[in-house]
């Protein structure tokens, strides 16, 4: 495998993010947003074909569906998974690994997409509401994609509203089961982190070429741990870039990171 002559940082992140699903087995790989979705698709097309994916609507497909405009009936459904059975079939039985982009993430891996600032009764900035985050986080594997690593996202204290469960011992309820809480990767524009630190602390495991640990720490509201050996994020291969290009014919990935910076060779 040869590395390609040119690639964007976003493409490099997509390749790094696709590793989240490696060896997951048969579960629904959901990437919310263009980069996570391309990452999940890349995982299925390359290293983990047993992953299940939807067409973005009600059907399961074996060939990941490209992003953006195409014929409405270009889907080739192999199975059926409408919203109307998503909790019954995917979320509650724990057969899913979703990669999402929360507005806030704290040191426990708790996230927030509900509101920022103010109170539950009168938020300063209302966002979506908790959506499926409480259920996703207590039932199945989750990862995160953060296009702009900053202290606004990685907050100093707890997130303003805990929309998803993390590893905060103060939030554990006596007698309840939190066994299925399973946070995997956080892929950002600076680094790749996991939850392999002390007591599931967030830990830097890869740095993108040219990025230092201190730079990541500086952009993070809480103390990060470092893996024993921090790797440098690999460059995409030509094959990976070709697959990404095929799955994103309208180049929506160019809009994910501000100014669509170039990636760097390792």
């Amino acid at each position: 495998m040869t590395t390609a002559p040119e690639f964007s940082l976003c493409e490099q992140l997509i390749v790094a993010a696709s590793e989240a699903w490696r060896g997951n087995g048969e579960l629904v790989a959901t990437g919310i947003g263009p980069a996570p979705r391309l990452a999940a698709s890349l995982a299925k097309v390359t290293h983990t074909p047993e992953l299940m994916m939807t067409d973005g609507e009600a059907y399961l497909v074996e060939d990941p569906v490209p992003l953006g405009p195409r014929g409405y009936d270009d889907r080739k459904p192999a199975g059926y998974l409408p919203f109307s059975r998503f909790f019954d079939a995917a979320v509650w039985p724990g057969k899913r690994h979703a990669m999402v982009t929360p507005s806030q993430i704290d040191r426990f891996g708790q996230t927030n997409i509900s509101y920022l600032g103010g109170t539950y009764d009168q938020p300063k900035v209302q966002m979506l509401g908790a959506r499926g985050f409480p259920g996703n986080s207590i039932c199945h594997i989750n990862s995160m994609f953060v296009p702009a690593h900053s202290k606004r996202v990685f907050v100093e204290g707890e997130v303003d509203m805990v929309s998803s469960v993390g590893y905060n011992p103060a939030r554990r309820i006596a007698g309840a089961t939190f066994d299925r809480v399973d946070l995997r990767l956080i892929v950002t524009d600076l680094c790749v982190m996991d939850f392999g630190g002390t007591d599931h602390a967030i830990r830097v495991v890869m740095l993108h070429p040219g990025v230092t640990f201190d730079q990541v720490q500086e952009a993070t509201g809480f103390a990060l741990q470092a893996a024993a050996e921090i790797e440098e994020t690999a460059a995409p291969t030509a094959e990976q870039l070709a697959i990404i290009a095929r799955l994103d014919p309208h180049n929506l990935r160019a809009t994910v990171l501000k100014d669509n910076p170039a990636g760097k060779r390792t």
Binding site: D55, G56, E57, A58, Y59, V65, G68, P69, R70, Y72, Y80, P82, F83, S84, F87, V91, W92, S114, Y115, G118, Y120, D121, Q122, P123, K124, V125, Q126, M127, L128, G129, A130, R131, G132, F133, P134, G135, S137, I138, C139, M161, V162, S163, S164, V165, N168, R171, R172, I173, A174, G175, A176, T177, F178, R180, V181
Partner: protein
């Protein structure tokens, strides 16, 4: 037994203070003709239960909503519903924020007349703390503690489907009907708007009987409303009107924007609505969204 109602008769059968569940999902399959009838009415102090889309924003903007029970409010390609957002940030709404799965679980608890249904969902989150949910312990040896989701009993449910007959038999086509049937089963009364109303479903469309997602004993009123989901989508018949939704969203940033939307779009009655938004043919031809 003839359940067919005019949209005026429908709205006259609701009362201020009711808890009303609205089917669909975000900007998909919303019973917008029925919602517009509420917007034009004197109804107030409603509790709305929904996987919310533009209907929630509109009802908030019109001051109809006392309390909102929701898993999210979003228009998908327009992630944040601007009028919902305004109402939230003004602090004028009572709310109960749920996980999406909890919402349907609460509807099922209501349908089954159960005092609660247990779930892991919500444990460890602020959905639980803010929502005042209680826990319950398994009476078996595991002794596991789980969250008790109380029933979301509705006074009325509103749905939009493809076909209905005068007896209340309905057919909802399309690949996904979300939790529409559970809104109906959780409600004392359900009102359905339909693209087409026929006399007898078994005479007109017997071959599509499996599209009967909820039984007619749960359907109390049927309103004919062709293209009645506009500006939301109605697969496989027509897509959402993103241009319209963008203009609607933009109105929230304009001085007097909501009043202008009411005057220019919602209007005095449903009869002229389709003309005001571009005409029947244009709406019918809206392409289905692609994900």
């Amino acid at each position: 037994m003839n359940k067919q109602l005019t949209v005026e008769q429908f709205v006259a059968s609701l009362k201020s203070g009711m808890t009303i569940g609205i089917g669909g999902w975000g900007p998909r399959r919303k019973p917008m003709a029925l919602v517009r009838a509420i917007l034009r009415s004197d109804l107030t102090d409603l509790t709305i239960v929904a996987y919310g889309g533009p209907e929630v924003g509109m009802l908030c903007a019109a001051g109809k909503v006392k309390k909102l029970i929701f898993g999210f409010v979003s228009m998908d390609a327009i992630p944040l519903e601007p009028y919902f957002r305004k109402a939230r940030e003004a602090g004028t709404l009572d709310i109960l924020e749920l996980d999406e799965g909890m919402l349907q679980w609460g509807l099922k608890a209501a349908a089954f007349r159960l005092p609660f249904l247990p779930t892991h969902v919500g444990l460890g989150t602020d959905v639980m703390t803010h929502g005042g949910f209680r826990t319950v312990q398994s009476p078996y040896d595991d002794g596991e503690v789980v969250l008790a989701m109380p029933p979301l009993r509705l006074d009325a449910a509103l749905l939009h489907v493809h076909r209905a007959d005068k007896l209340g038999n309905i057919q909802a086509l399309g690949p996904d009907t979300y939790y529409d049937e559970w809104f109906a089963r959780a409600a004392d009364q359900s009102f359905v708007s339909a693209e087409e109303v026929v006399d007898r479903m078994d005479h007109s469309y017997p071959e599509d009987a499996r599209a009967n997602i909820v039984e007619r004993c749960f359907i109390h009123g049927v309103v004919e409303a062709p293209l009645g989901a506009h500006p939301t989508s109605m697969p496989p018949s027509y897509g959402w009107d993103m241009k319209h939704l963008k203009a609607y969203a933009a109105s929230a940033r304009q001085e007097g924007g909501w009043d202008a939307y009411v005057a220019g779009v919602i209007g005095a009655d449903e009869a002229g609505y389709l003309d005001r938004v571009g005409g029947k043919d244009t709406v019918a031809a809206l392409p289905l969204p692609i994900f």
